[in-house]
Assembly symmetry: C2
């Protein structure tokens, strides 16, 4: 029985086993009507050439979120993006260099605003449906983050973070269809979004399309936090 431990008794922390802490960022983007994720090539011999999430060790003076934002900023040039911690992954042999517990985050970025140094280890946007094997346990991390995103967009309007400031309802529907991997009814989709008050009509239209141009909208940030589930399922 371990009745004396770091929560209950004064024990020197250096007497304990120590591990490295890292963060891994699942950076989602949306382009060409597909959900994409930003990956880099791993040079570790165990995973030579396989795609890897963007991550790094957490520094002594950083909390977890700060480290994750640092990774995101260094790789994409983006700040103030939507980010959410998902969970920790701590399998014993998940990293060949030793015990590394990683904390996974996902973030949603406007892919057009990102400024990648793509020559660096082939930093690229990958279509979600093309990703099979990855370095480390990163496929597992990616899958978990993707499921979290799917659950999230159903009850909170976070999807806007993936779109440009001005977008059409078709863009929005394509986004939801891509994230949830379903086909949605156009009329019902529009009805739903107009009923929630998230959309501001910009009185602008698409240009240079060879069909009737769509109206453009922006997201109403003021109403962001007003959407709640109306019933509890009971």
């Amino acid at each position: 029985m371990h009745t004396k431990n770091i929560n209950t008794h004064r024990i020197e922390i250096r007497d304990y086993f120590m591990a490295a802490i890292s963060v891994d960022c699942v950076i989602f983007g949306f382009d060409e009507n597909e959900l994409k994720v930003l990956l880099i090539k791993s040079d570790l011999k165990e995973y030579k050439g396989k795609p890897s999430l963007l991550g790094d060790i957490v520094h002594p003076d950083e909390d977890l979120e700060t480290a994750a934002y640092r990774v995101l900023r260094d790789r994409t040039g983006l700040e103030n993006v939507y980010m959410e911690q998902v969970q920790a992954f701590g399998g014993i042999n998940r990293h060949p260099a030793g015990r590394v517990v990683t904390i996974a985050f996902y973030s949603l970025v406007n892919i057009q605003h990102s400024e990648l140094k793509t020559q660096e280890n082939e930093l690229h946007w990958h279509s979600m449906k093309d990703i099979t094997d990855m370095a480390f346990d990163h496929k597992d991390i990616l899958d978990t983050c993707y499921q979290r995103l799917q659950a999230k967009v159903i009850d909170q309007p976070v999807g806007f973070n993936l779109l440009p400031k001005k977008f059409s309802l078709r863009d929005l529907q394509n986004l939801y269809e891509a994230i949830l991997d379903v086909k949605l009814d156009r009329r019902n989709f529009r009805k739903k979004f107009f009923a929630m008050d998230y959309l501001v009509d910009l009185n602008e239209e698409e240009k240079d399309v060879r069909h009737r141009p769509a109206r453009l909208y922006k997201f109403n940030h003021d109403k962001y936090n007003l959407h709640h589930k109306k019933n509890l399922g009971f």
Copy 2:
């Protein structure tokens, strides 16, 4: 720019900053129609006498879940209980002994089956509504885990784990009312649960109650994973 890191290049892990990894368990129980949580007294001088979650350092040969189950077993004597990882907490100064990143889990146990060594640092079940301040950042961890539990019971039938094998519909409703902190309509509640096929009528009744005895049910584990949201909110 940190372009060379543990995901992309071979670098010795010992060159990096190391931290201690712990797990903290939010162990929920249900008794006297109240949601309870199992806490212990901290002896650290910084938090002298304040209640603390049950936690411990993760050992070198354990993954995170294994460590959390170990803590749970050592403190309650319980095995095979429902447990879910919630998230990591890694604030820089969250532990006075140094950098300790903790992974929070919550679990749902049948409070009657637990065998506590209650003399050990006053290990006790606390009513959720009586808990104010706690040691470390444990109040924050507890709140986060409680919110996760509330969200979970709404779309999956995990609540059964908190009840004895045989229970009445009143017990079940009391449980949901306690977790969600709402009053529910009795008839609608019964209708809802009978419609899902989770309940098996045991053809038994309560005894020694000074009112009409309630029928007893058990949970149908076979149908556990068949319950899904019927619509996506779209």
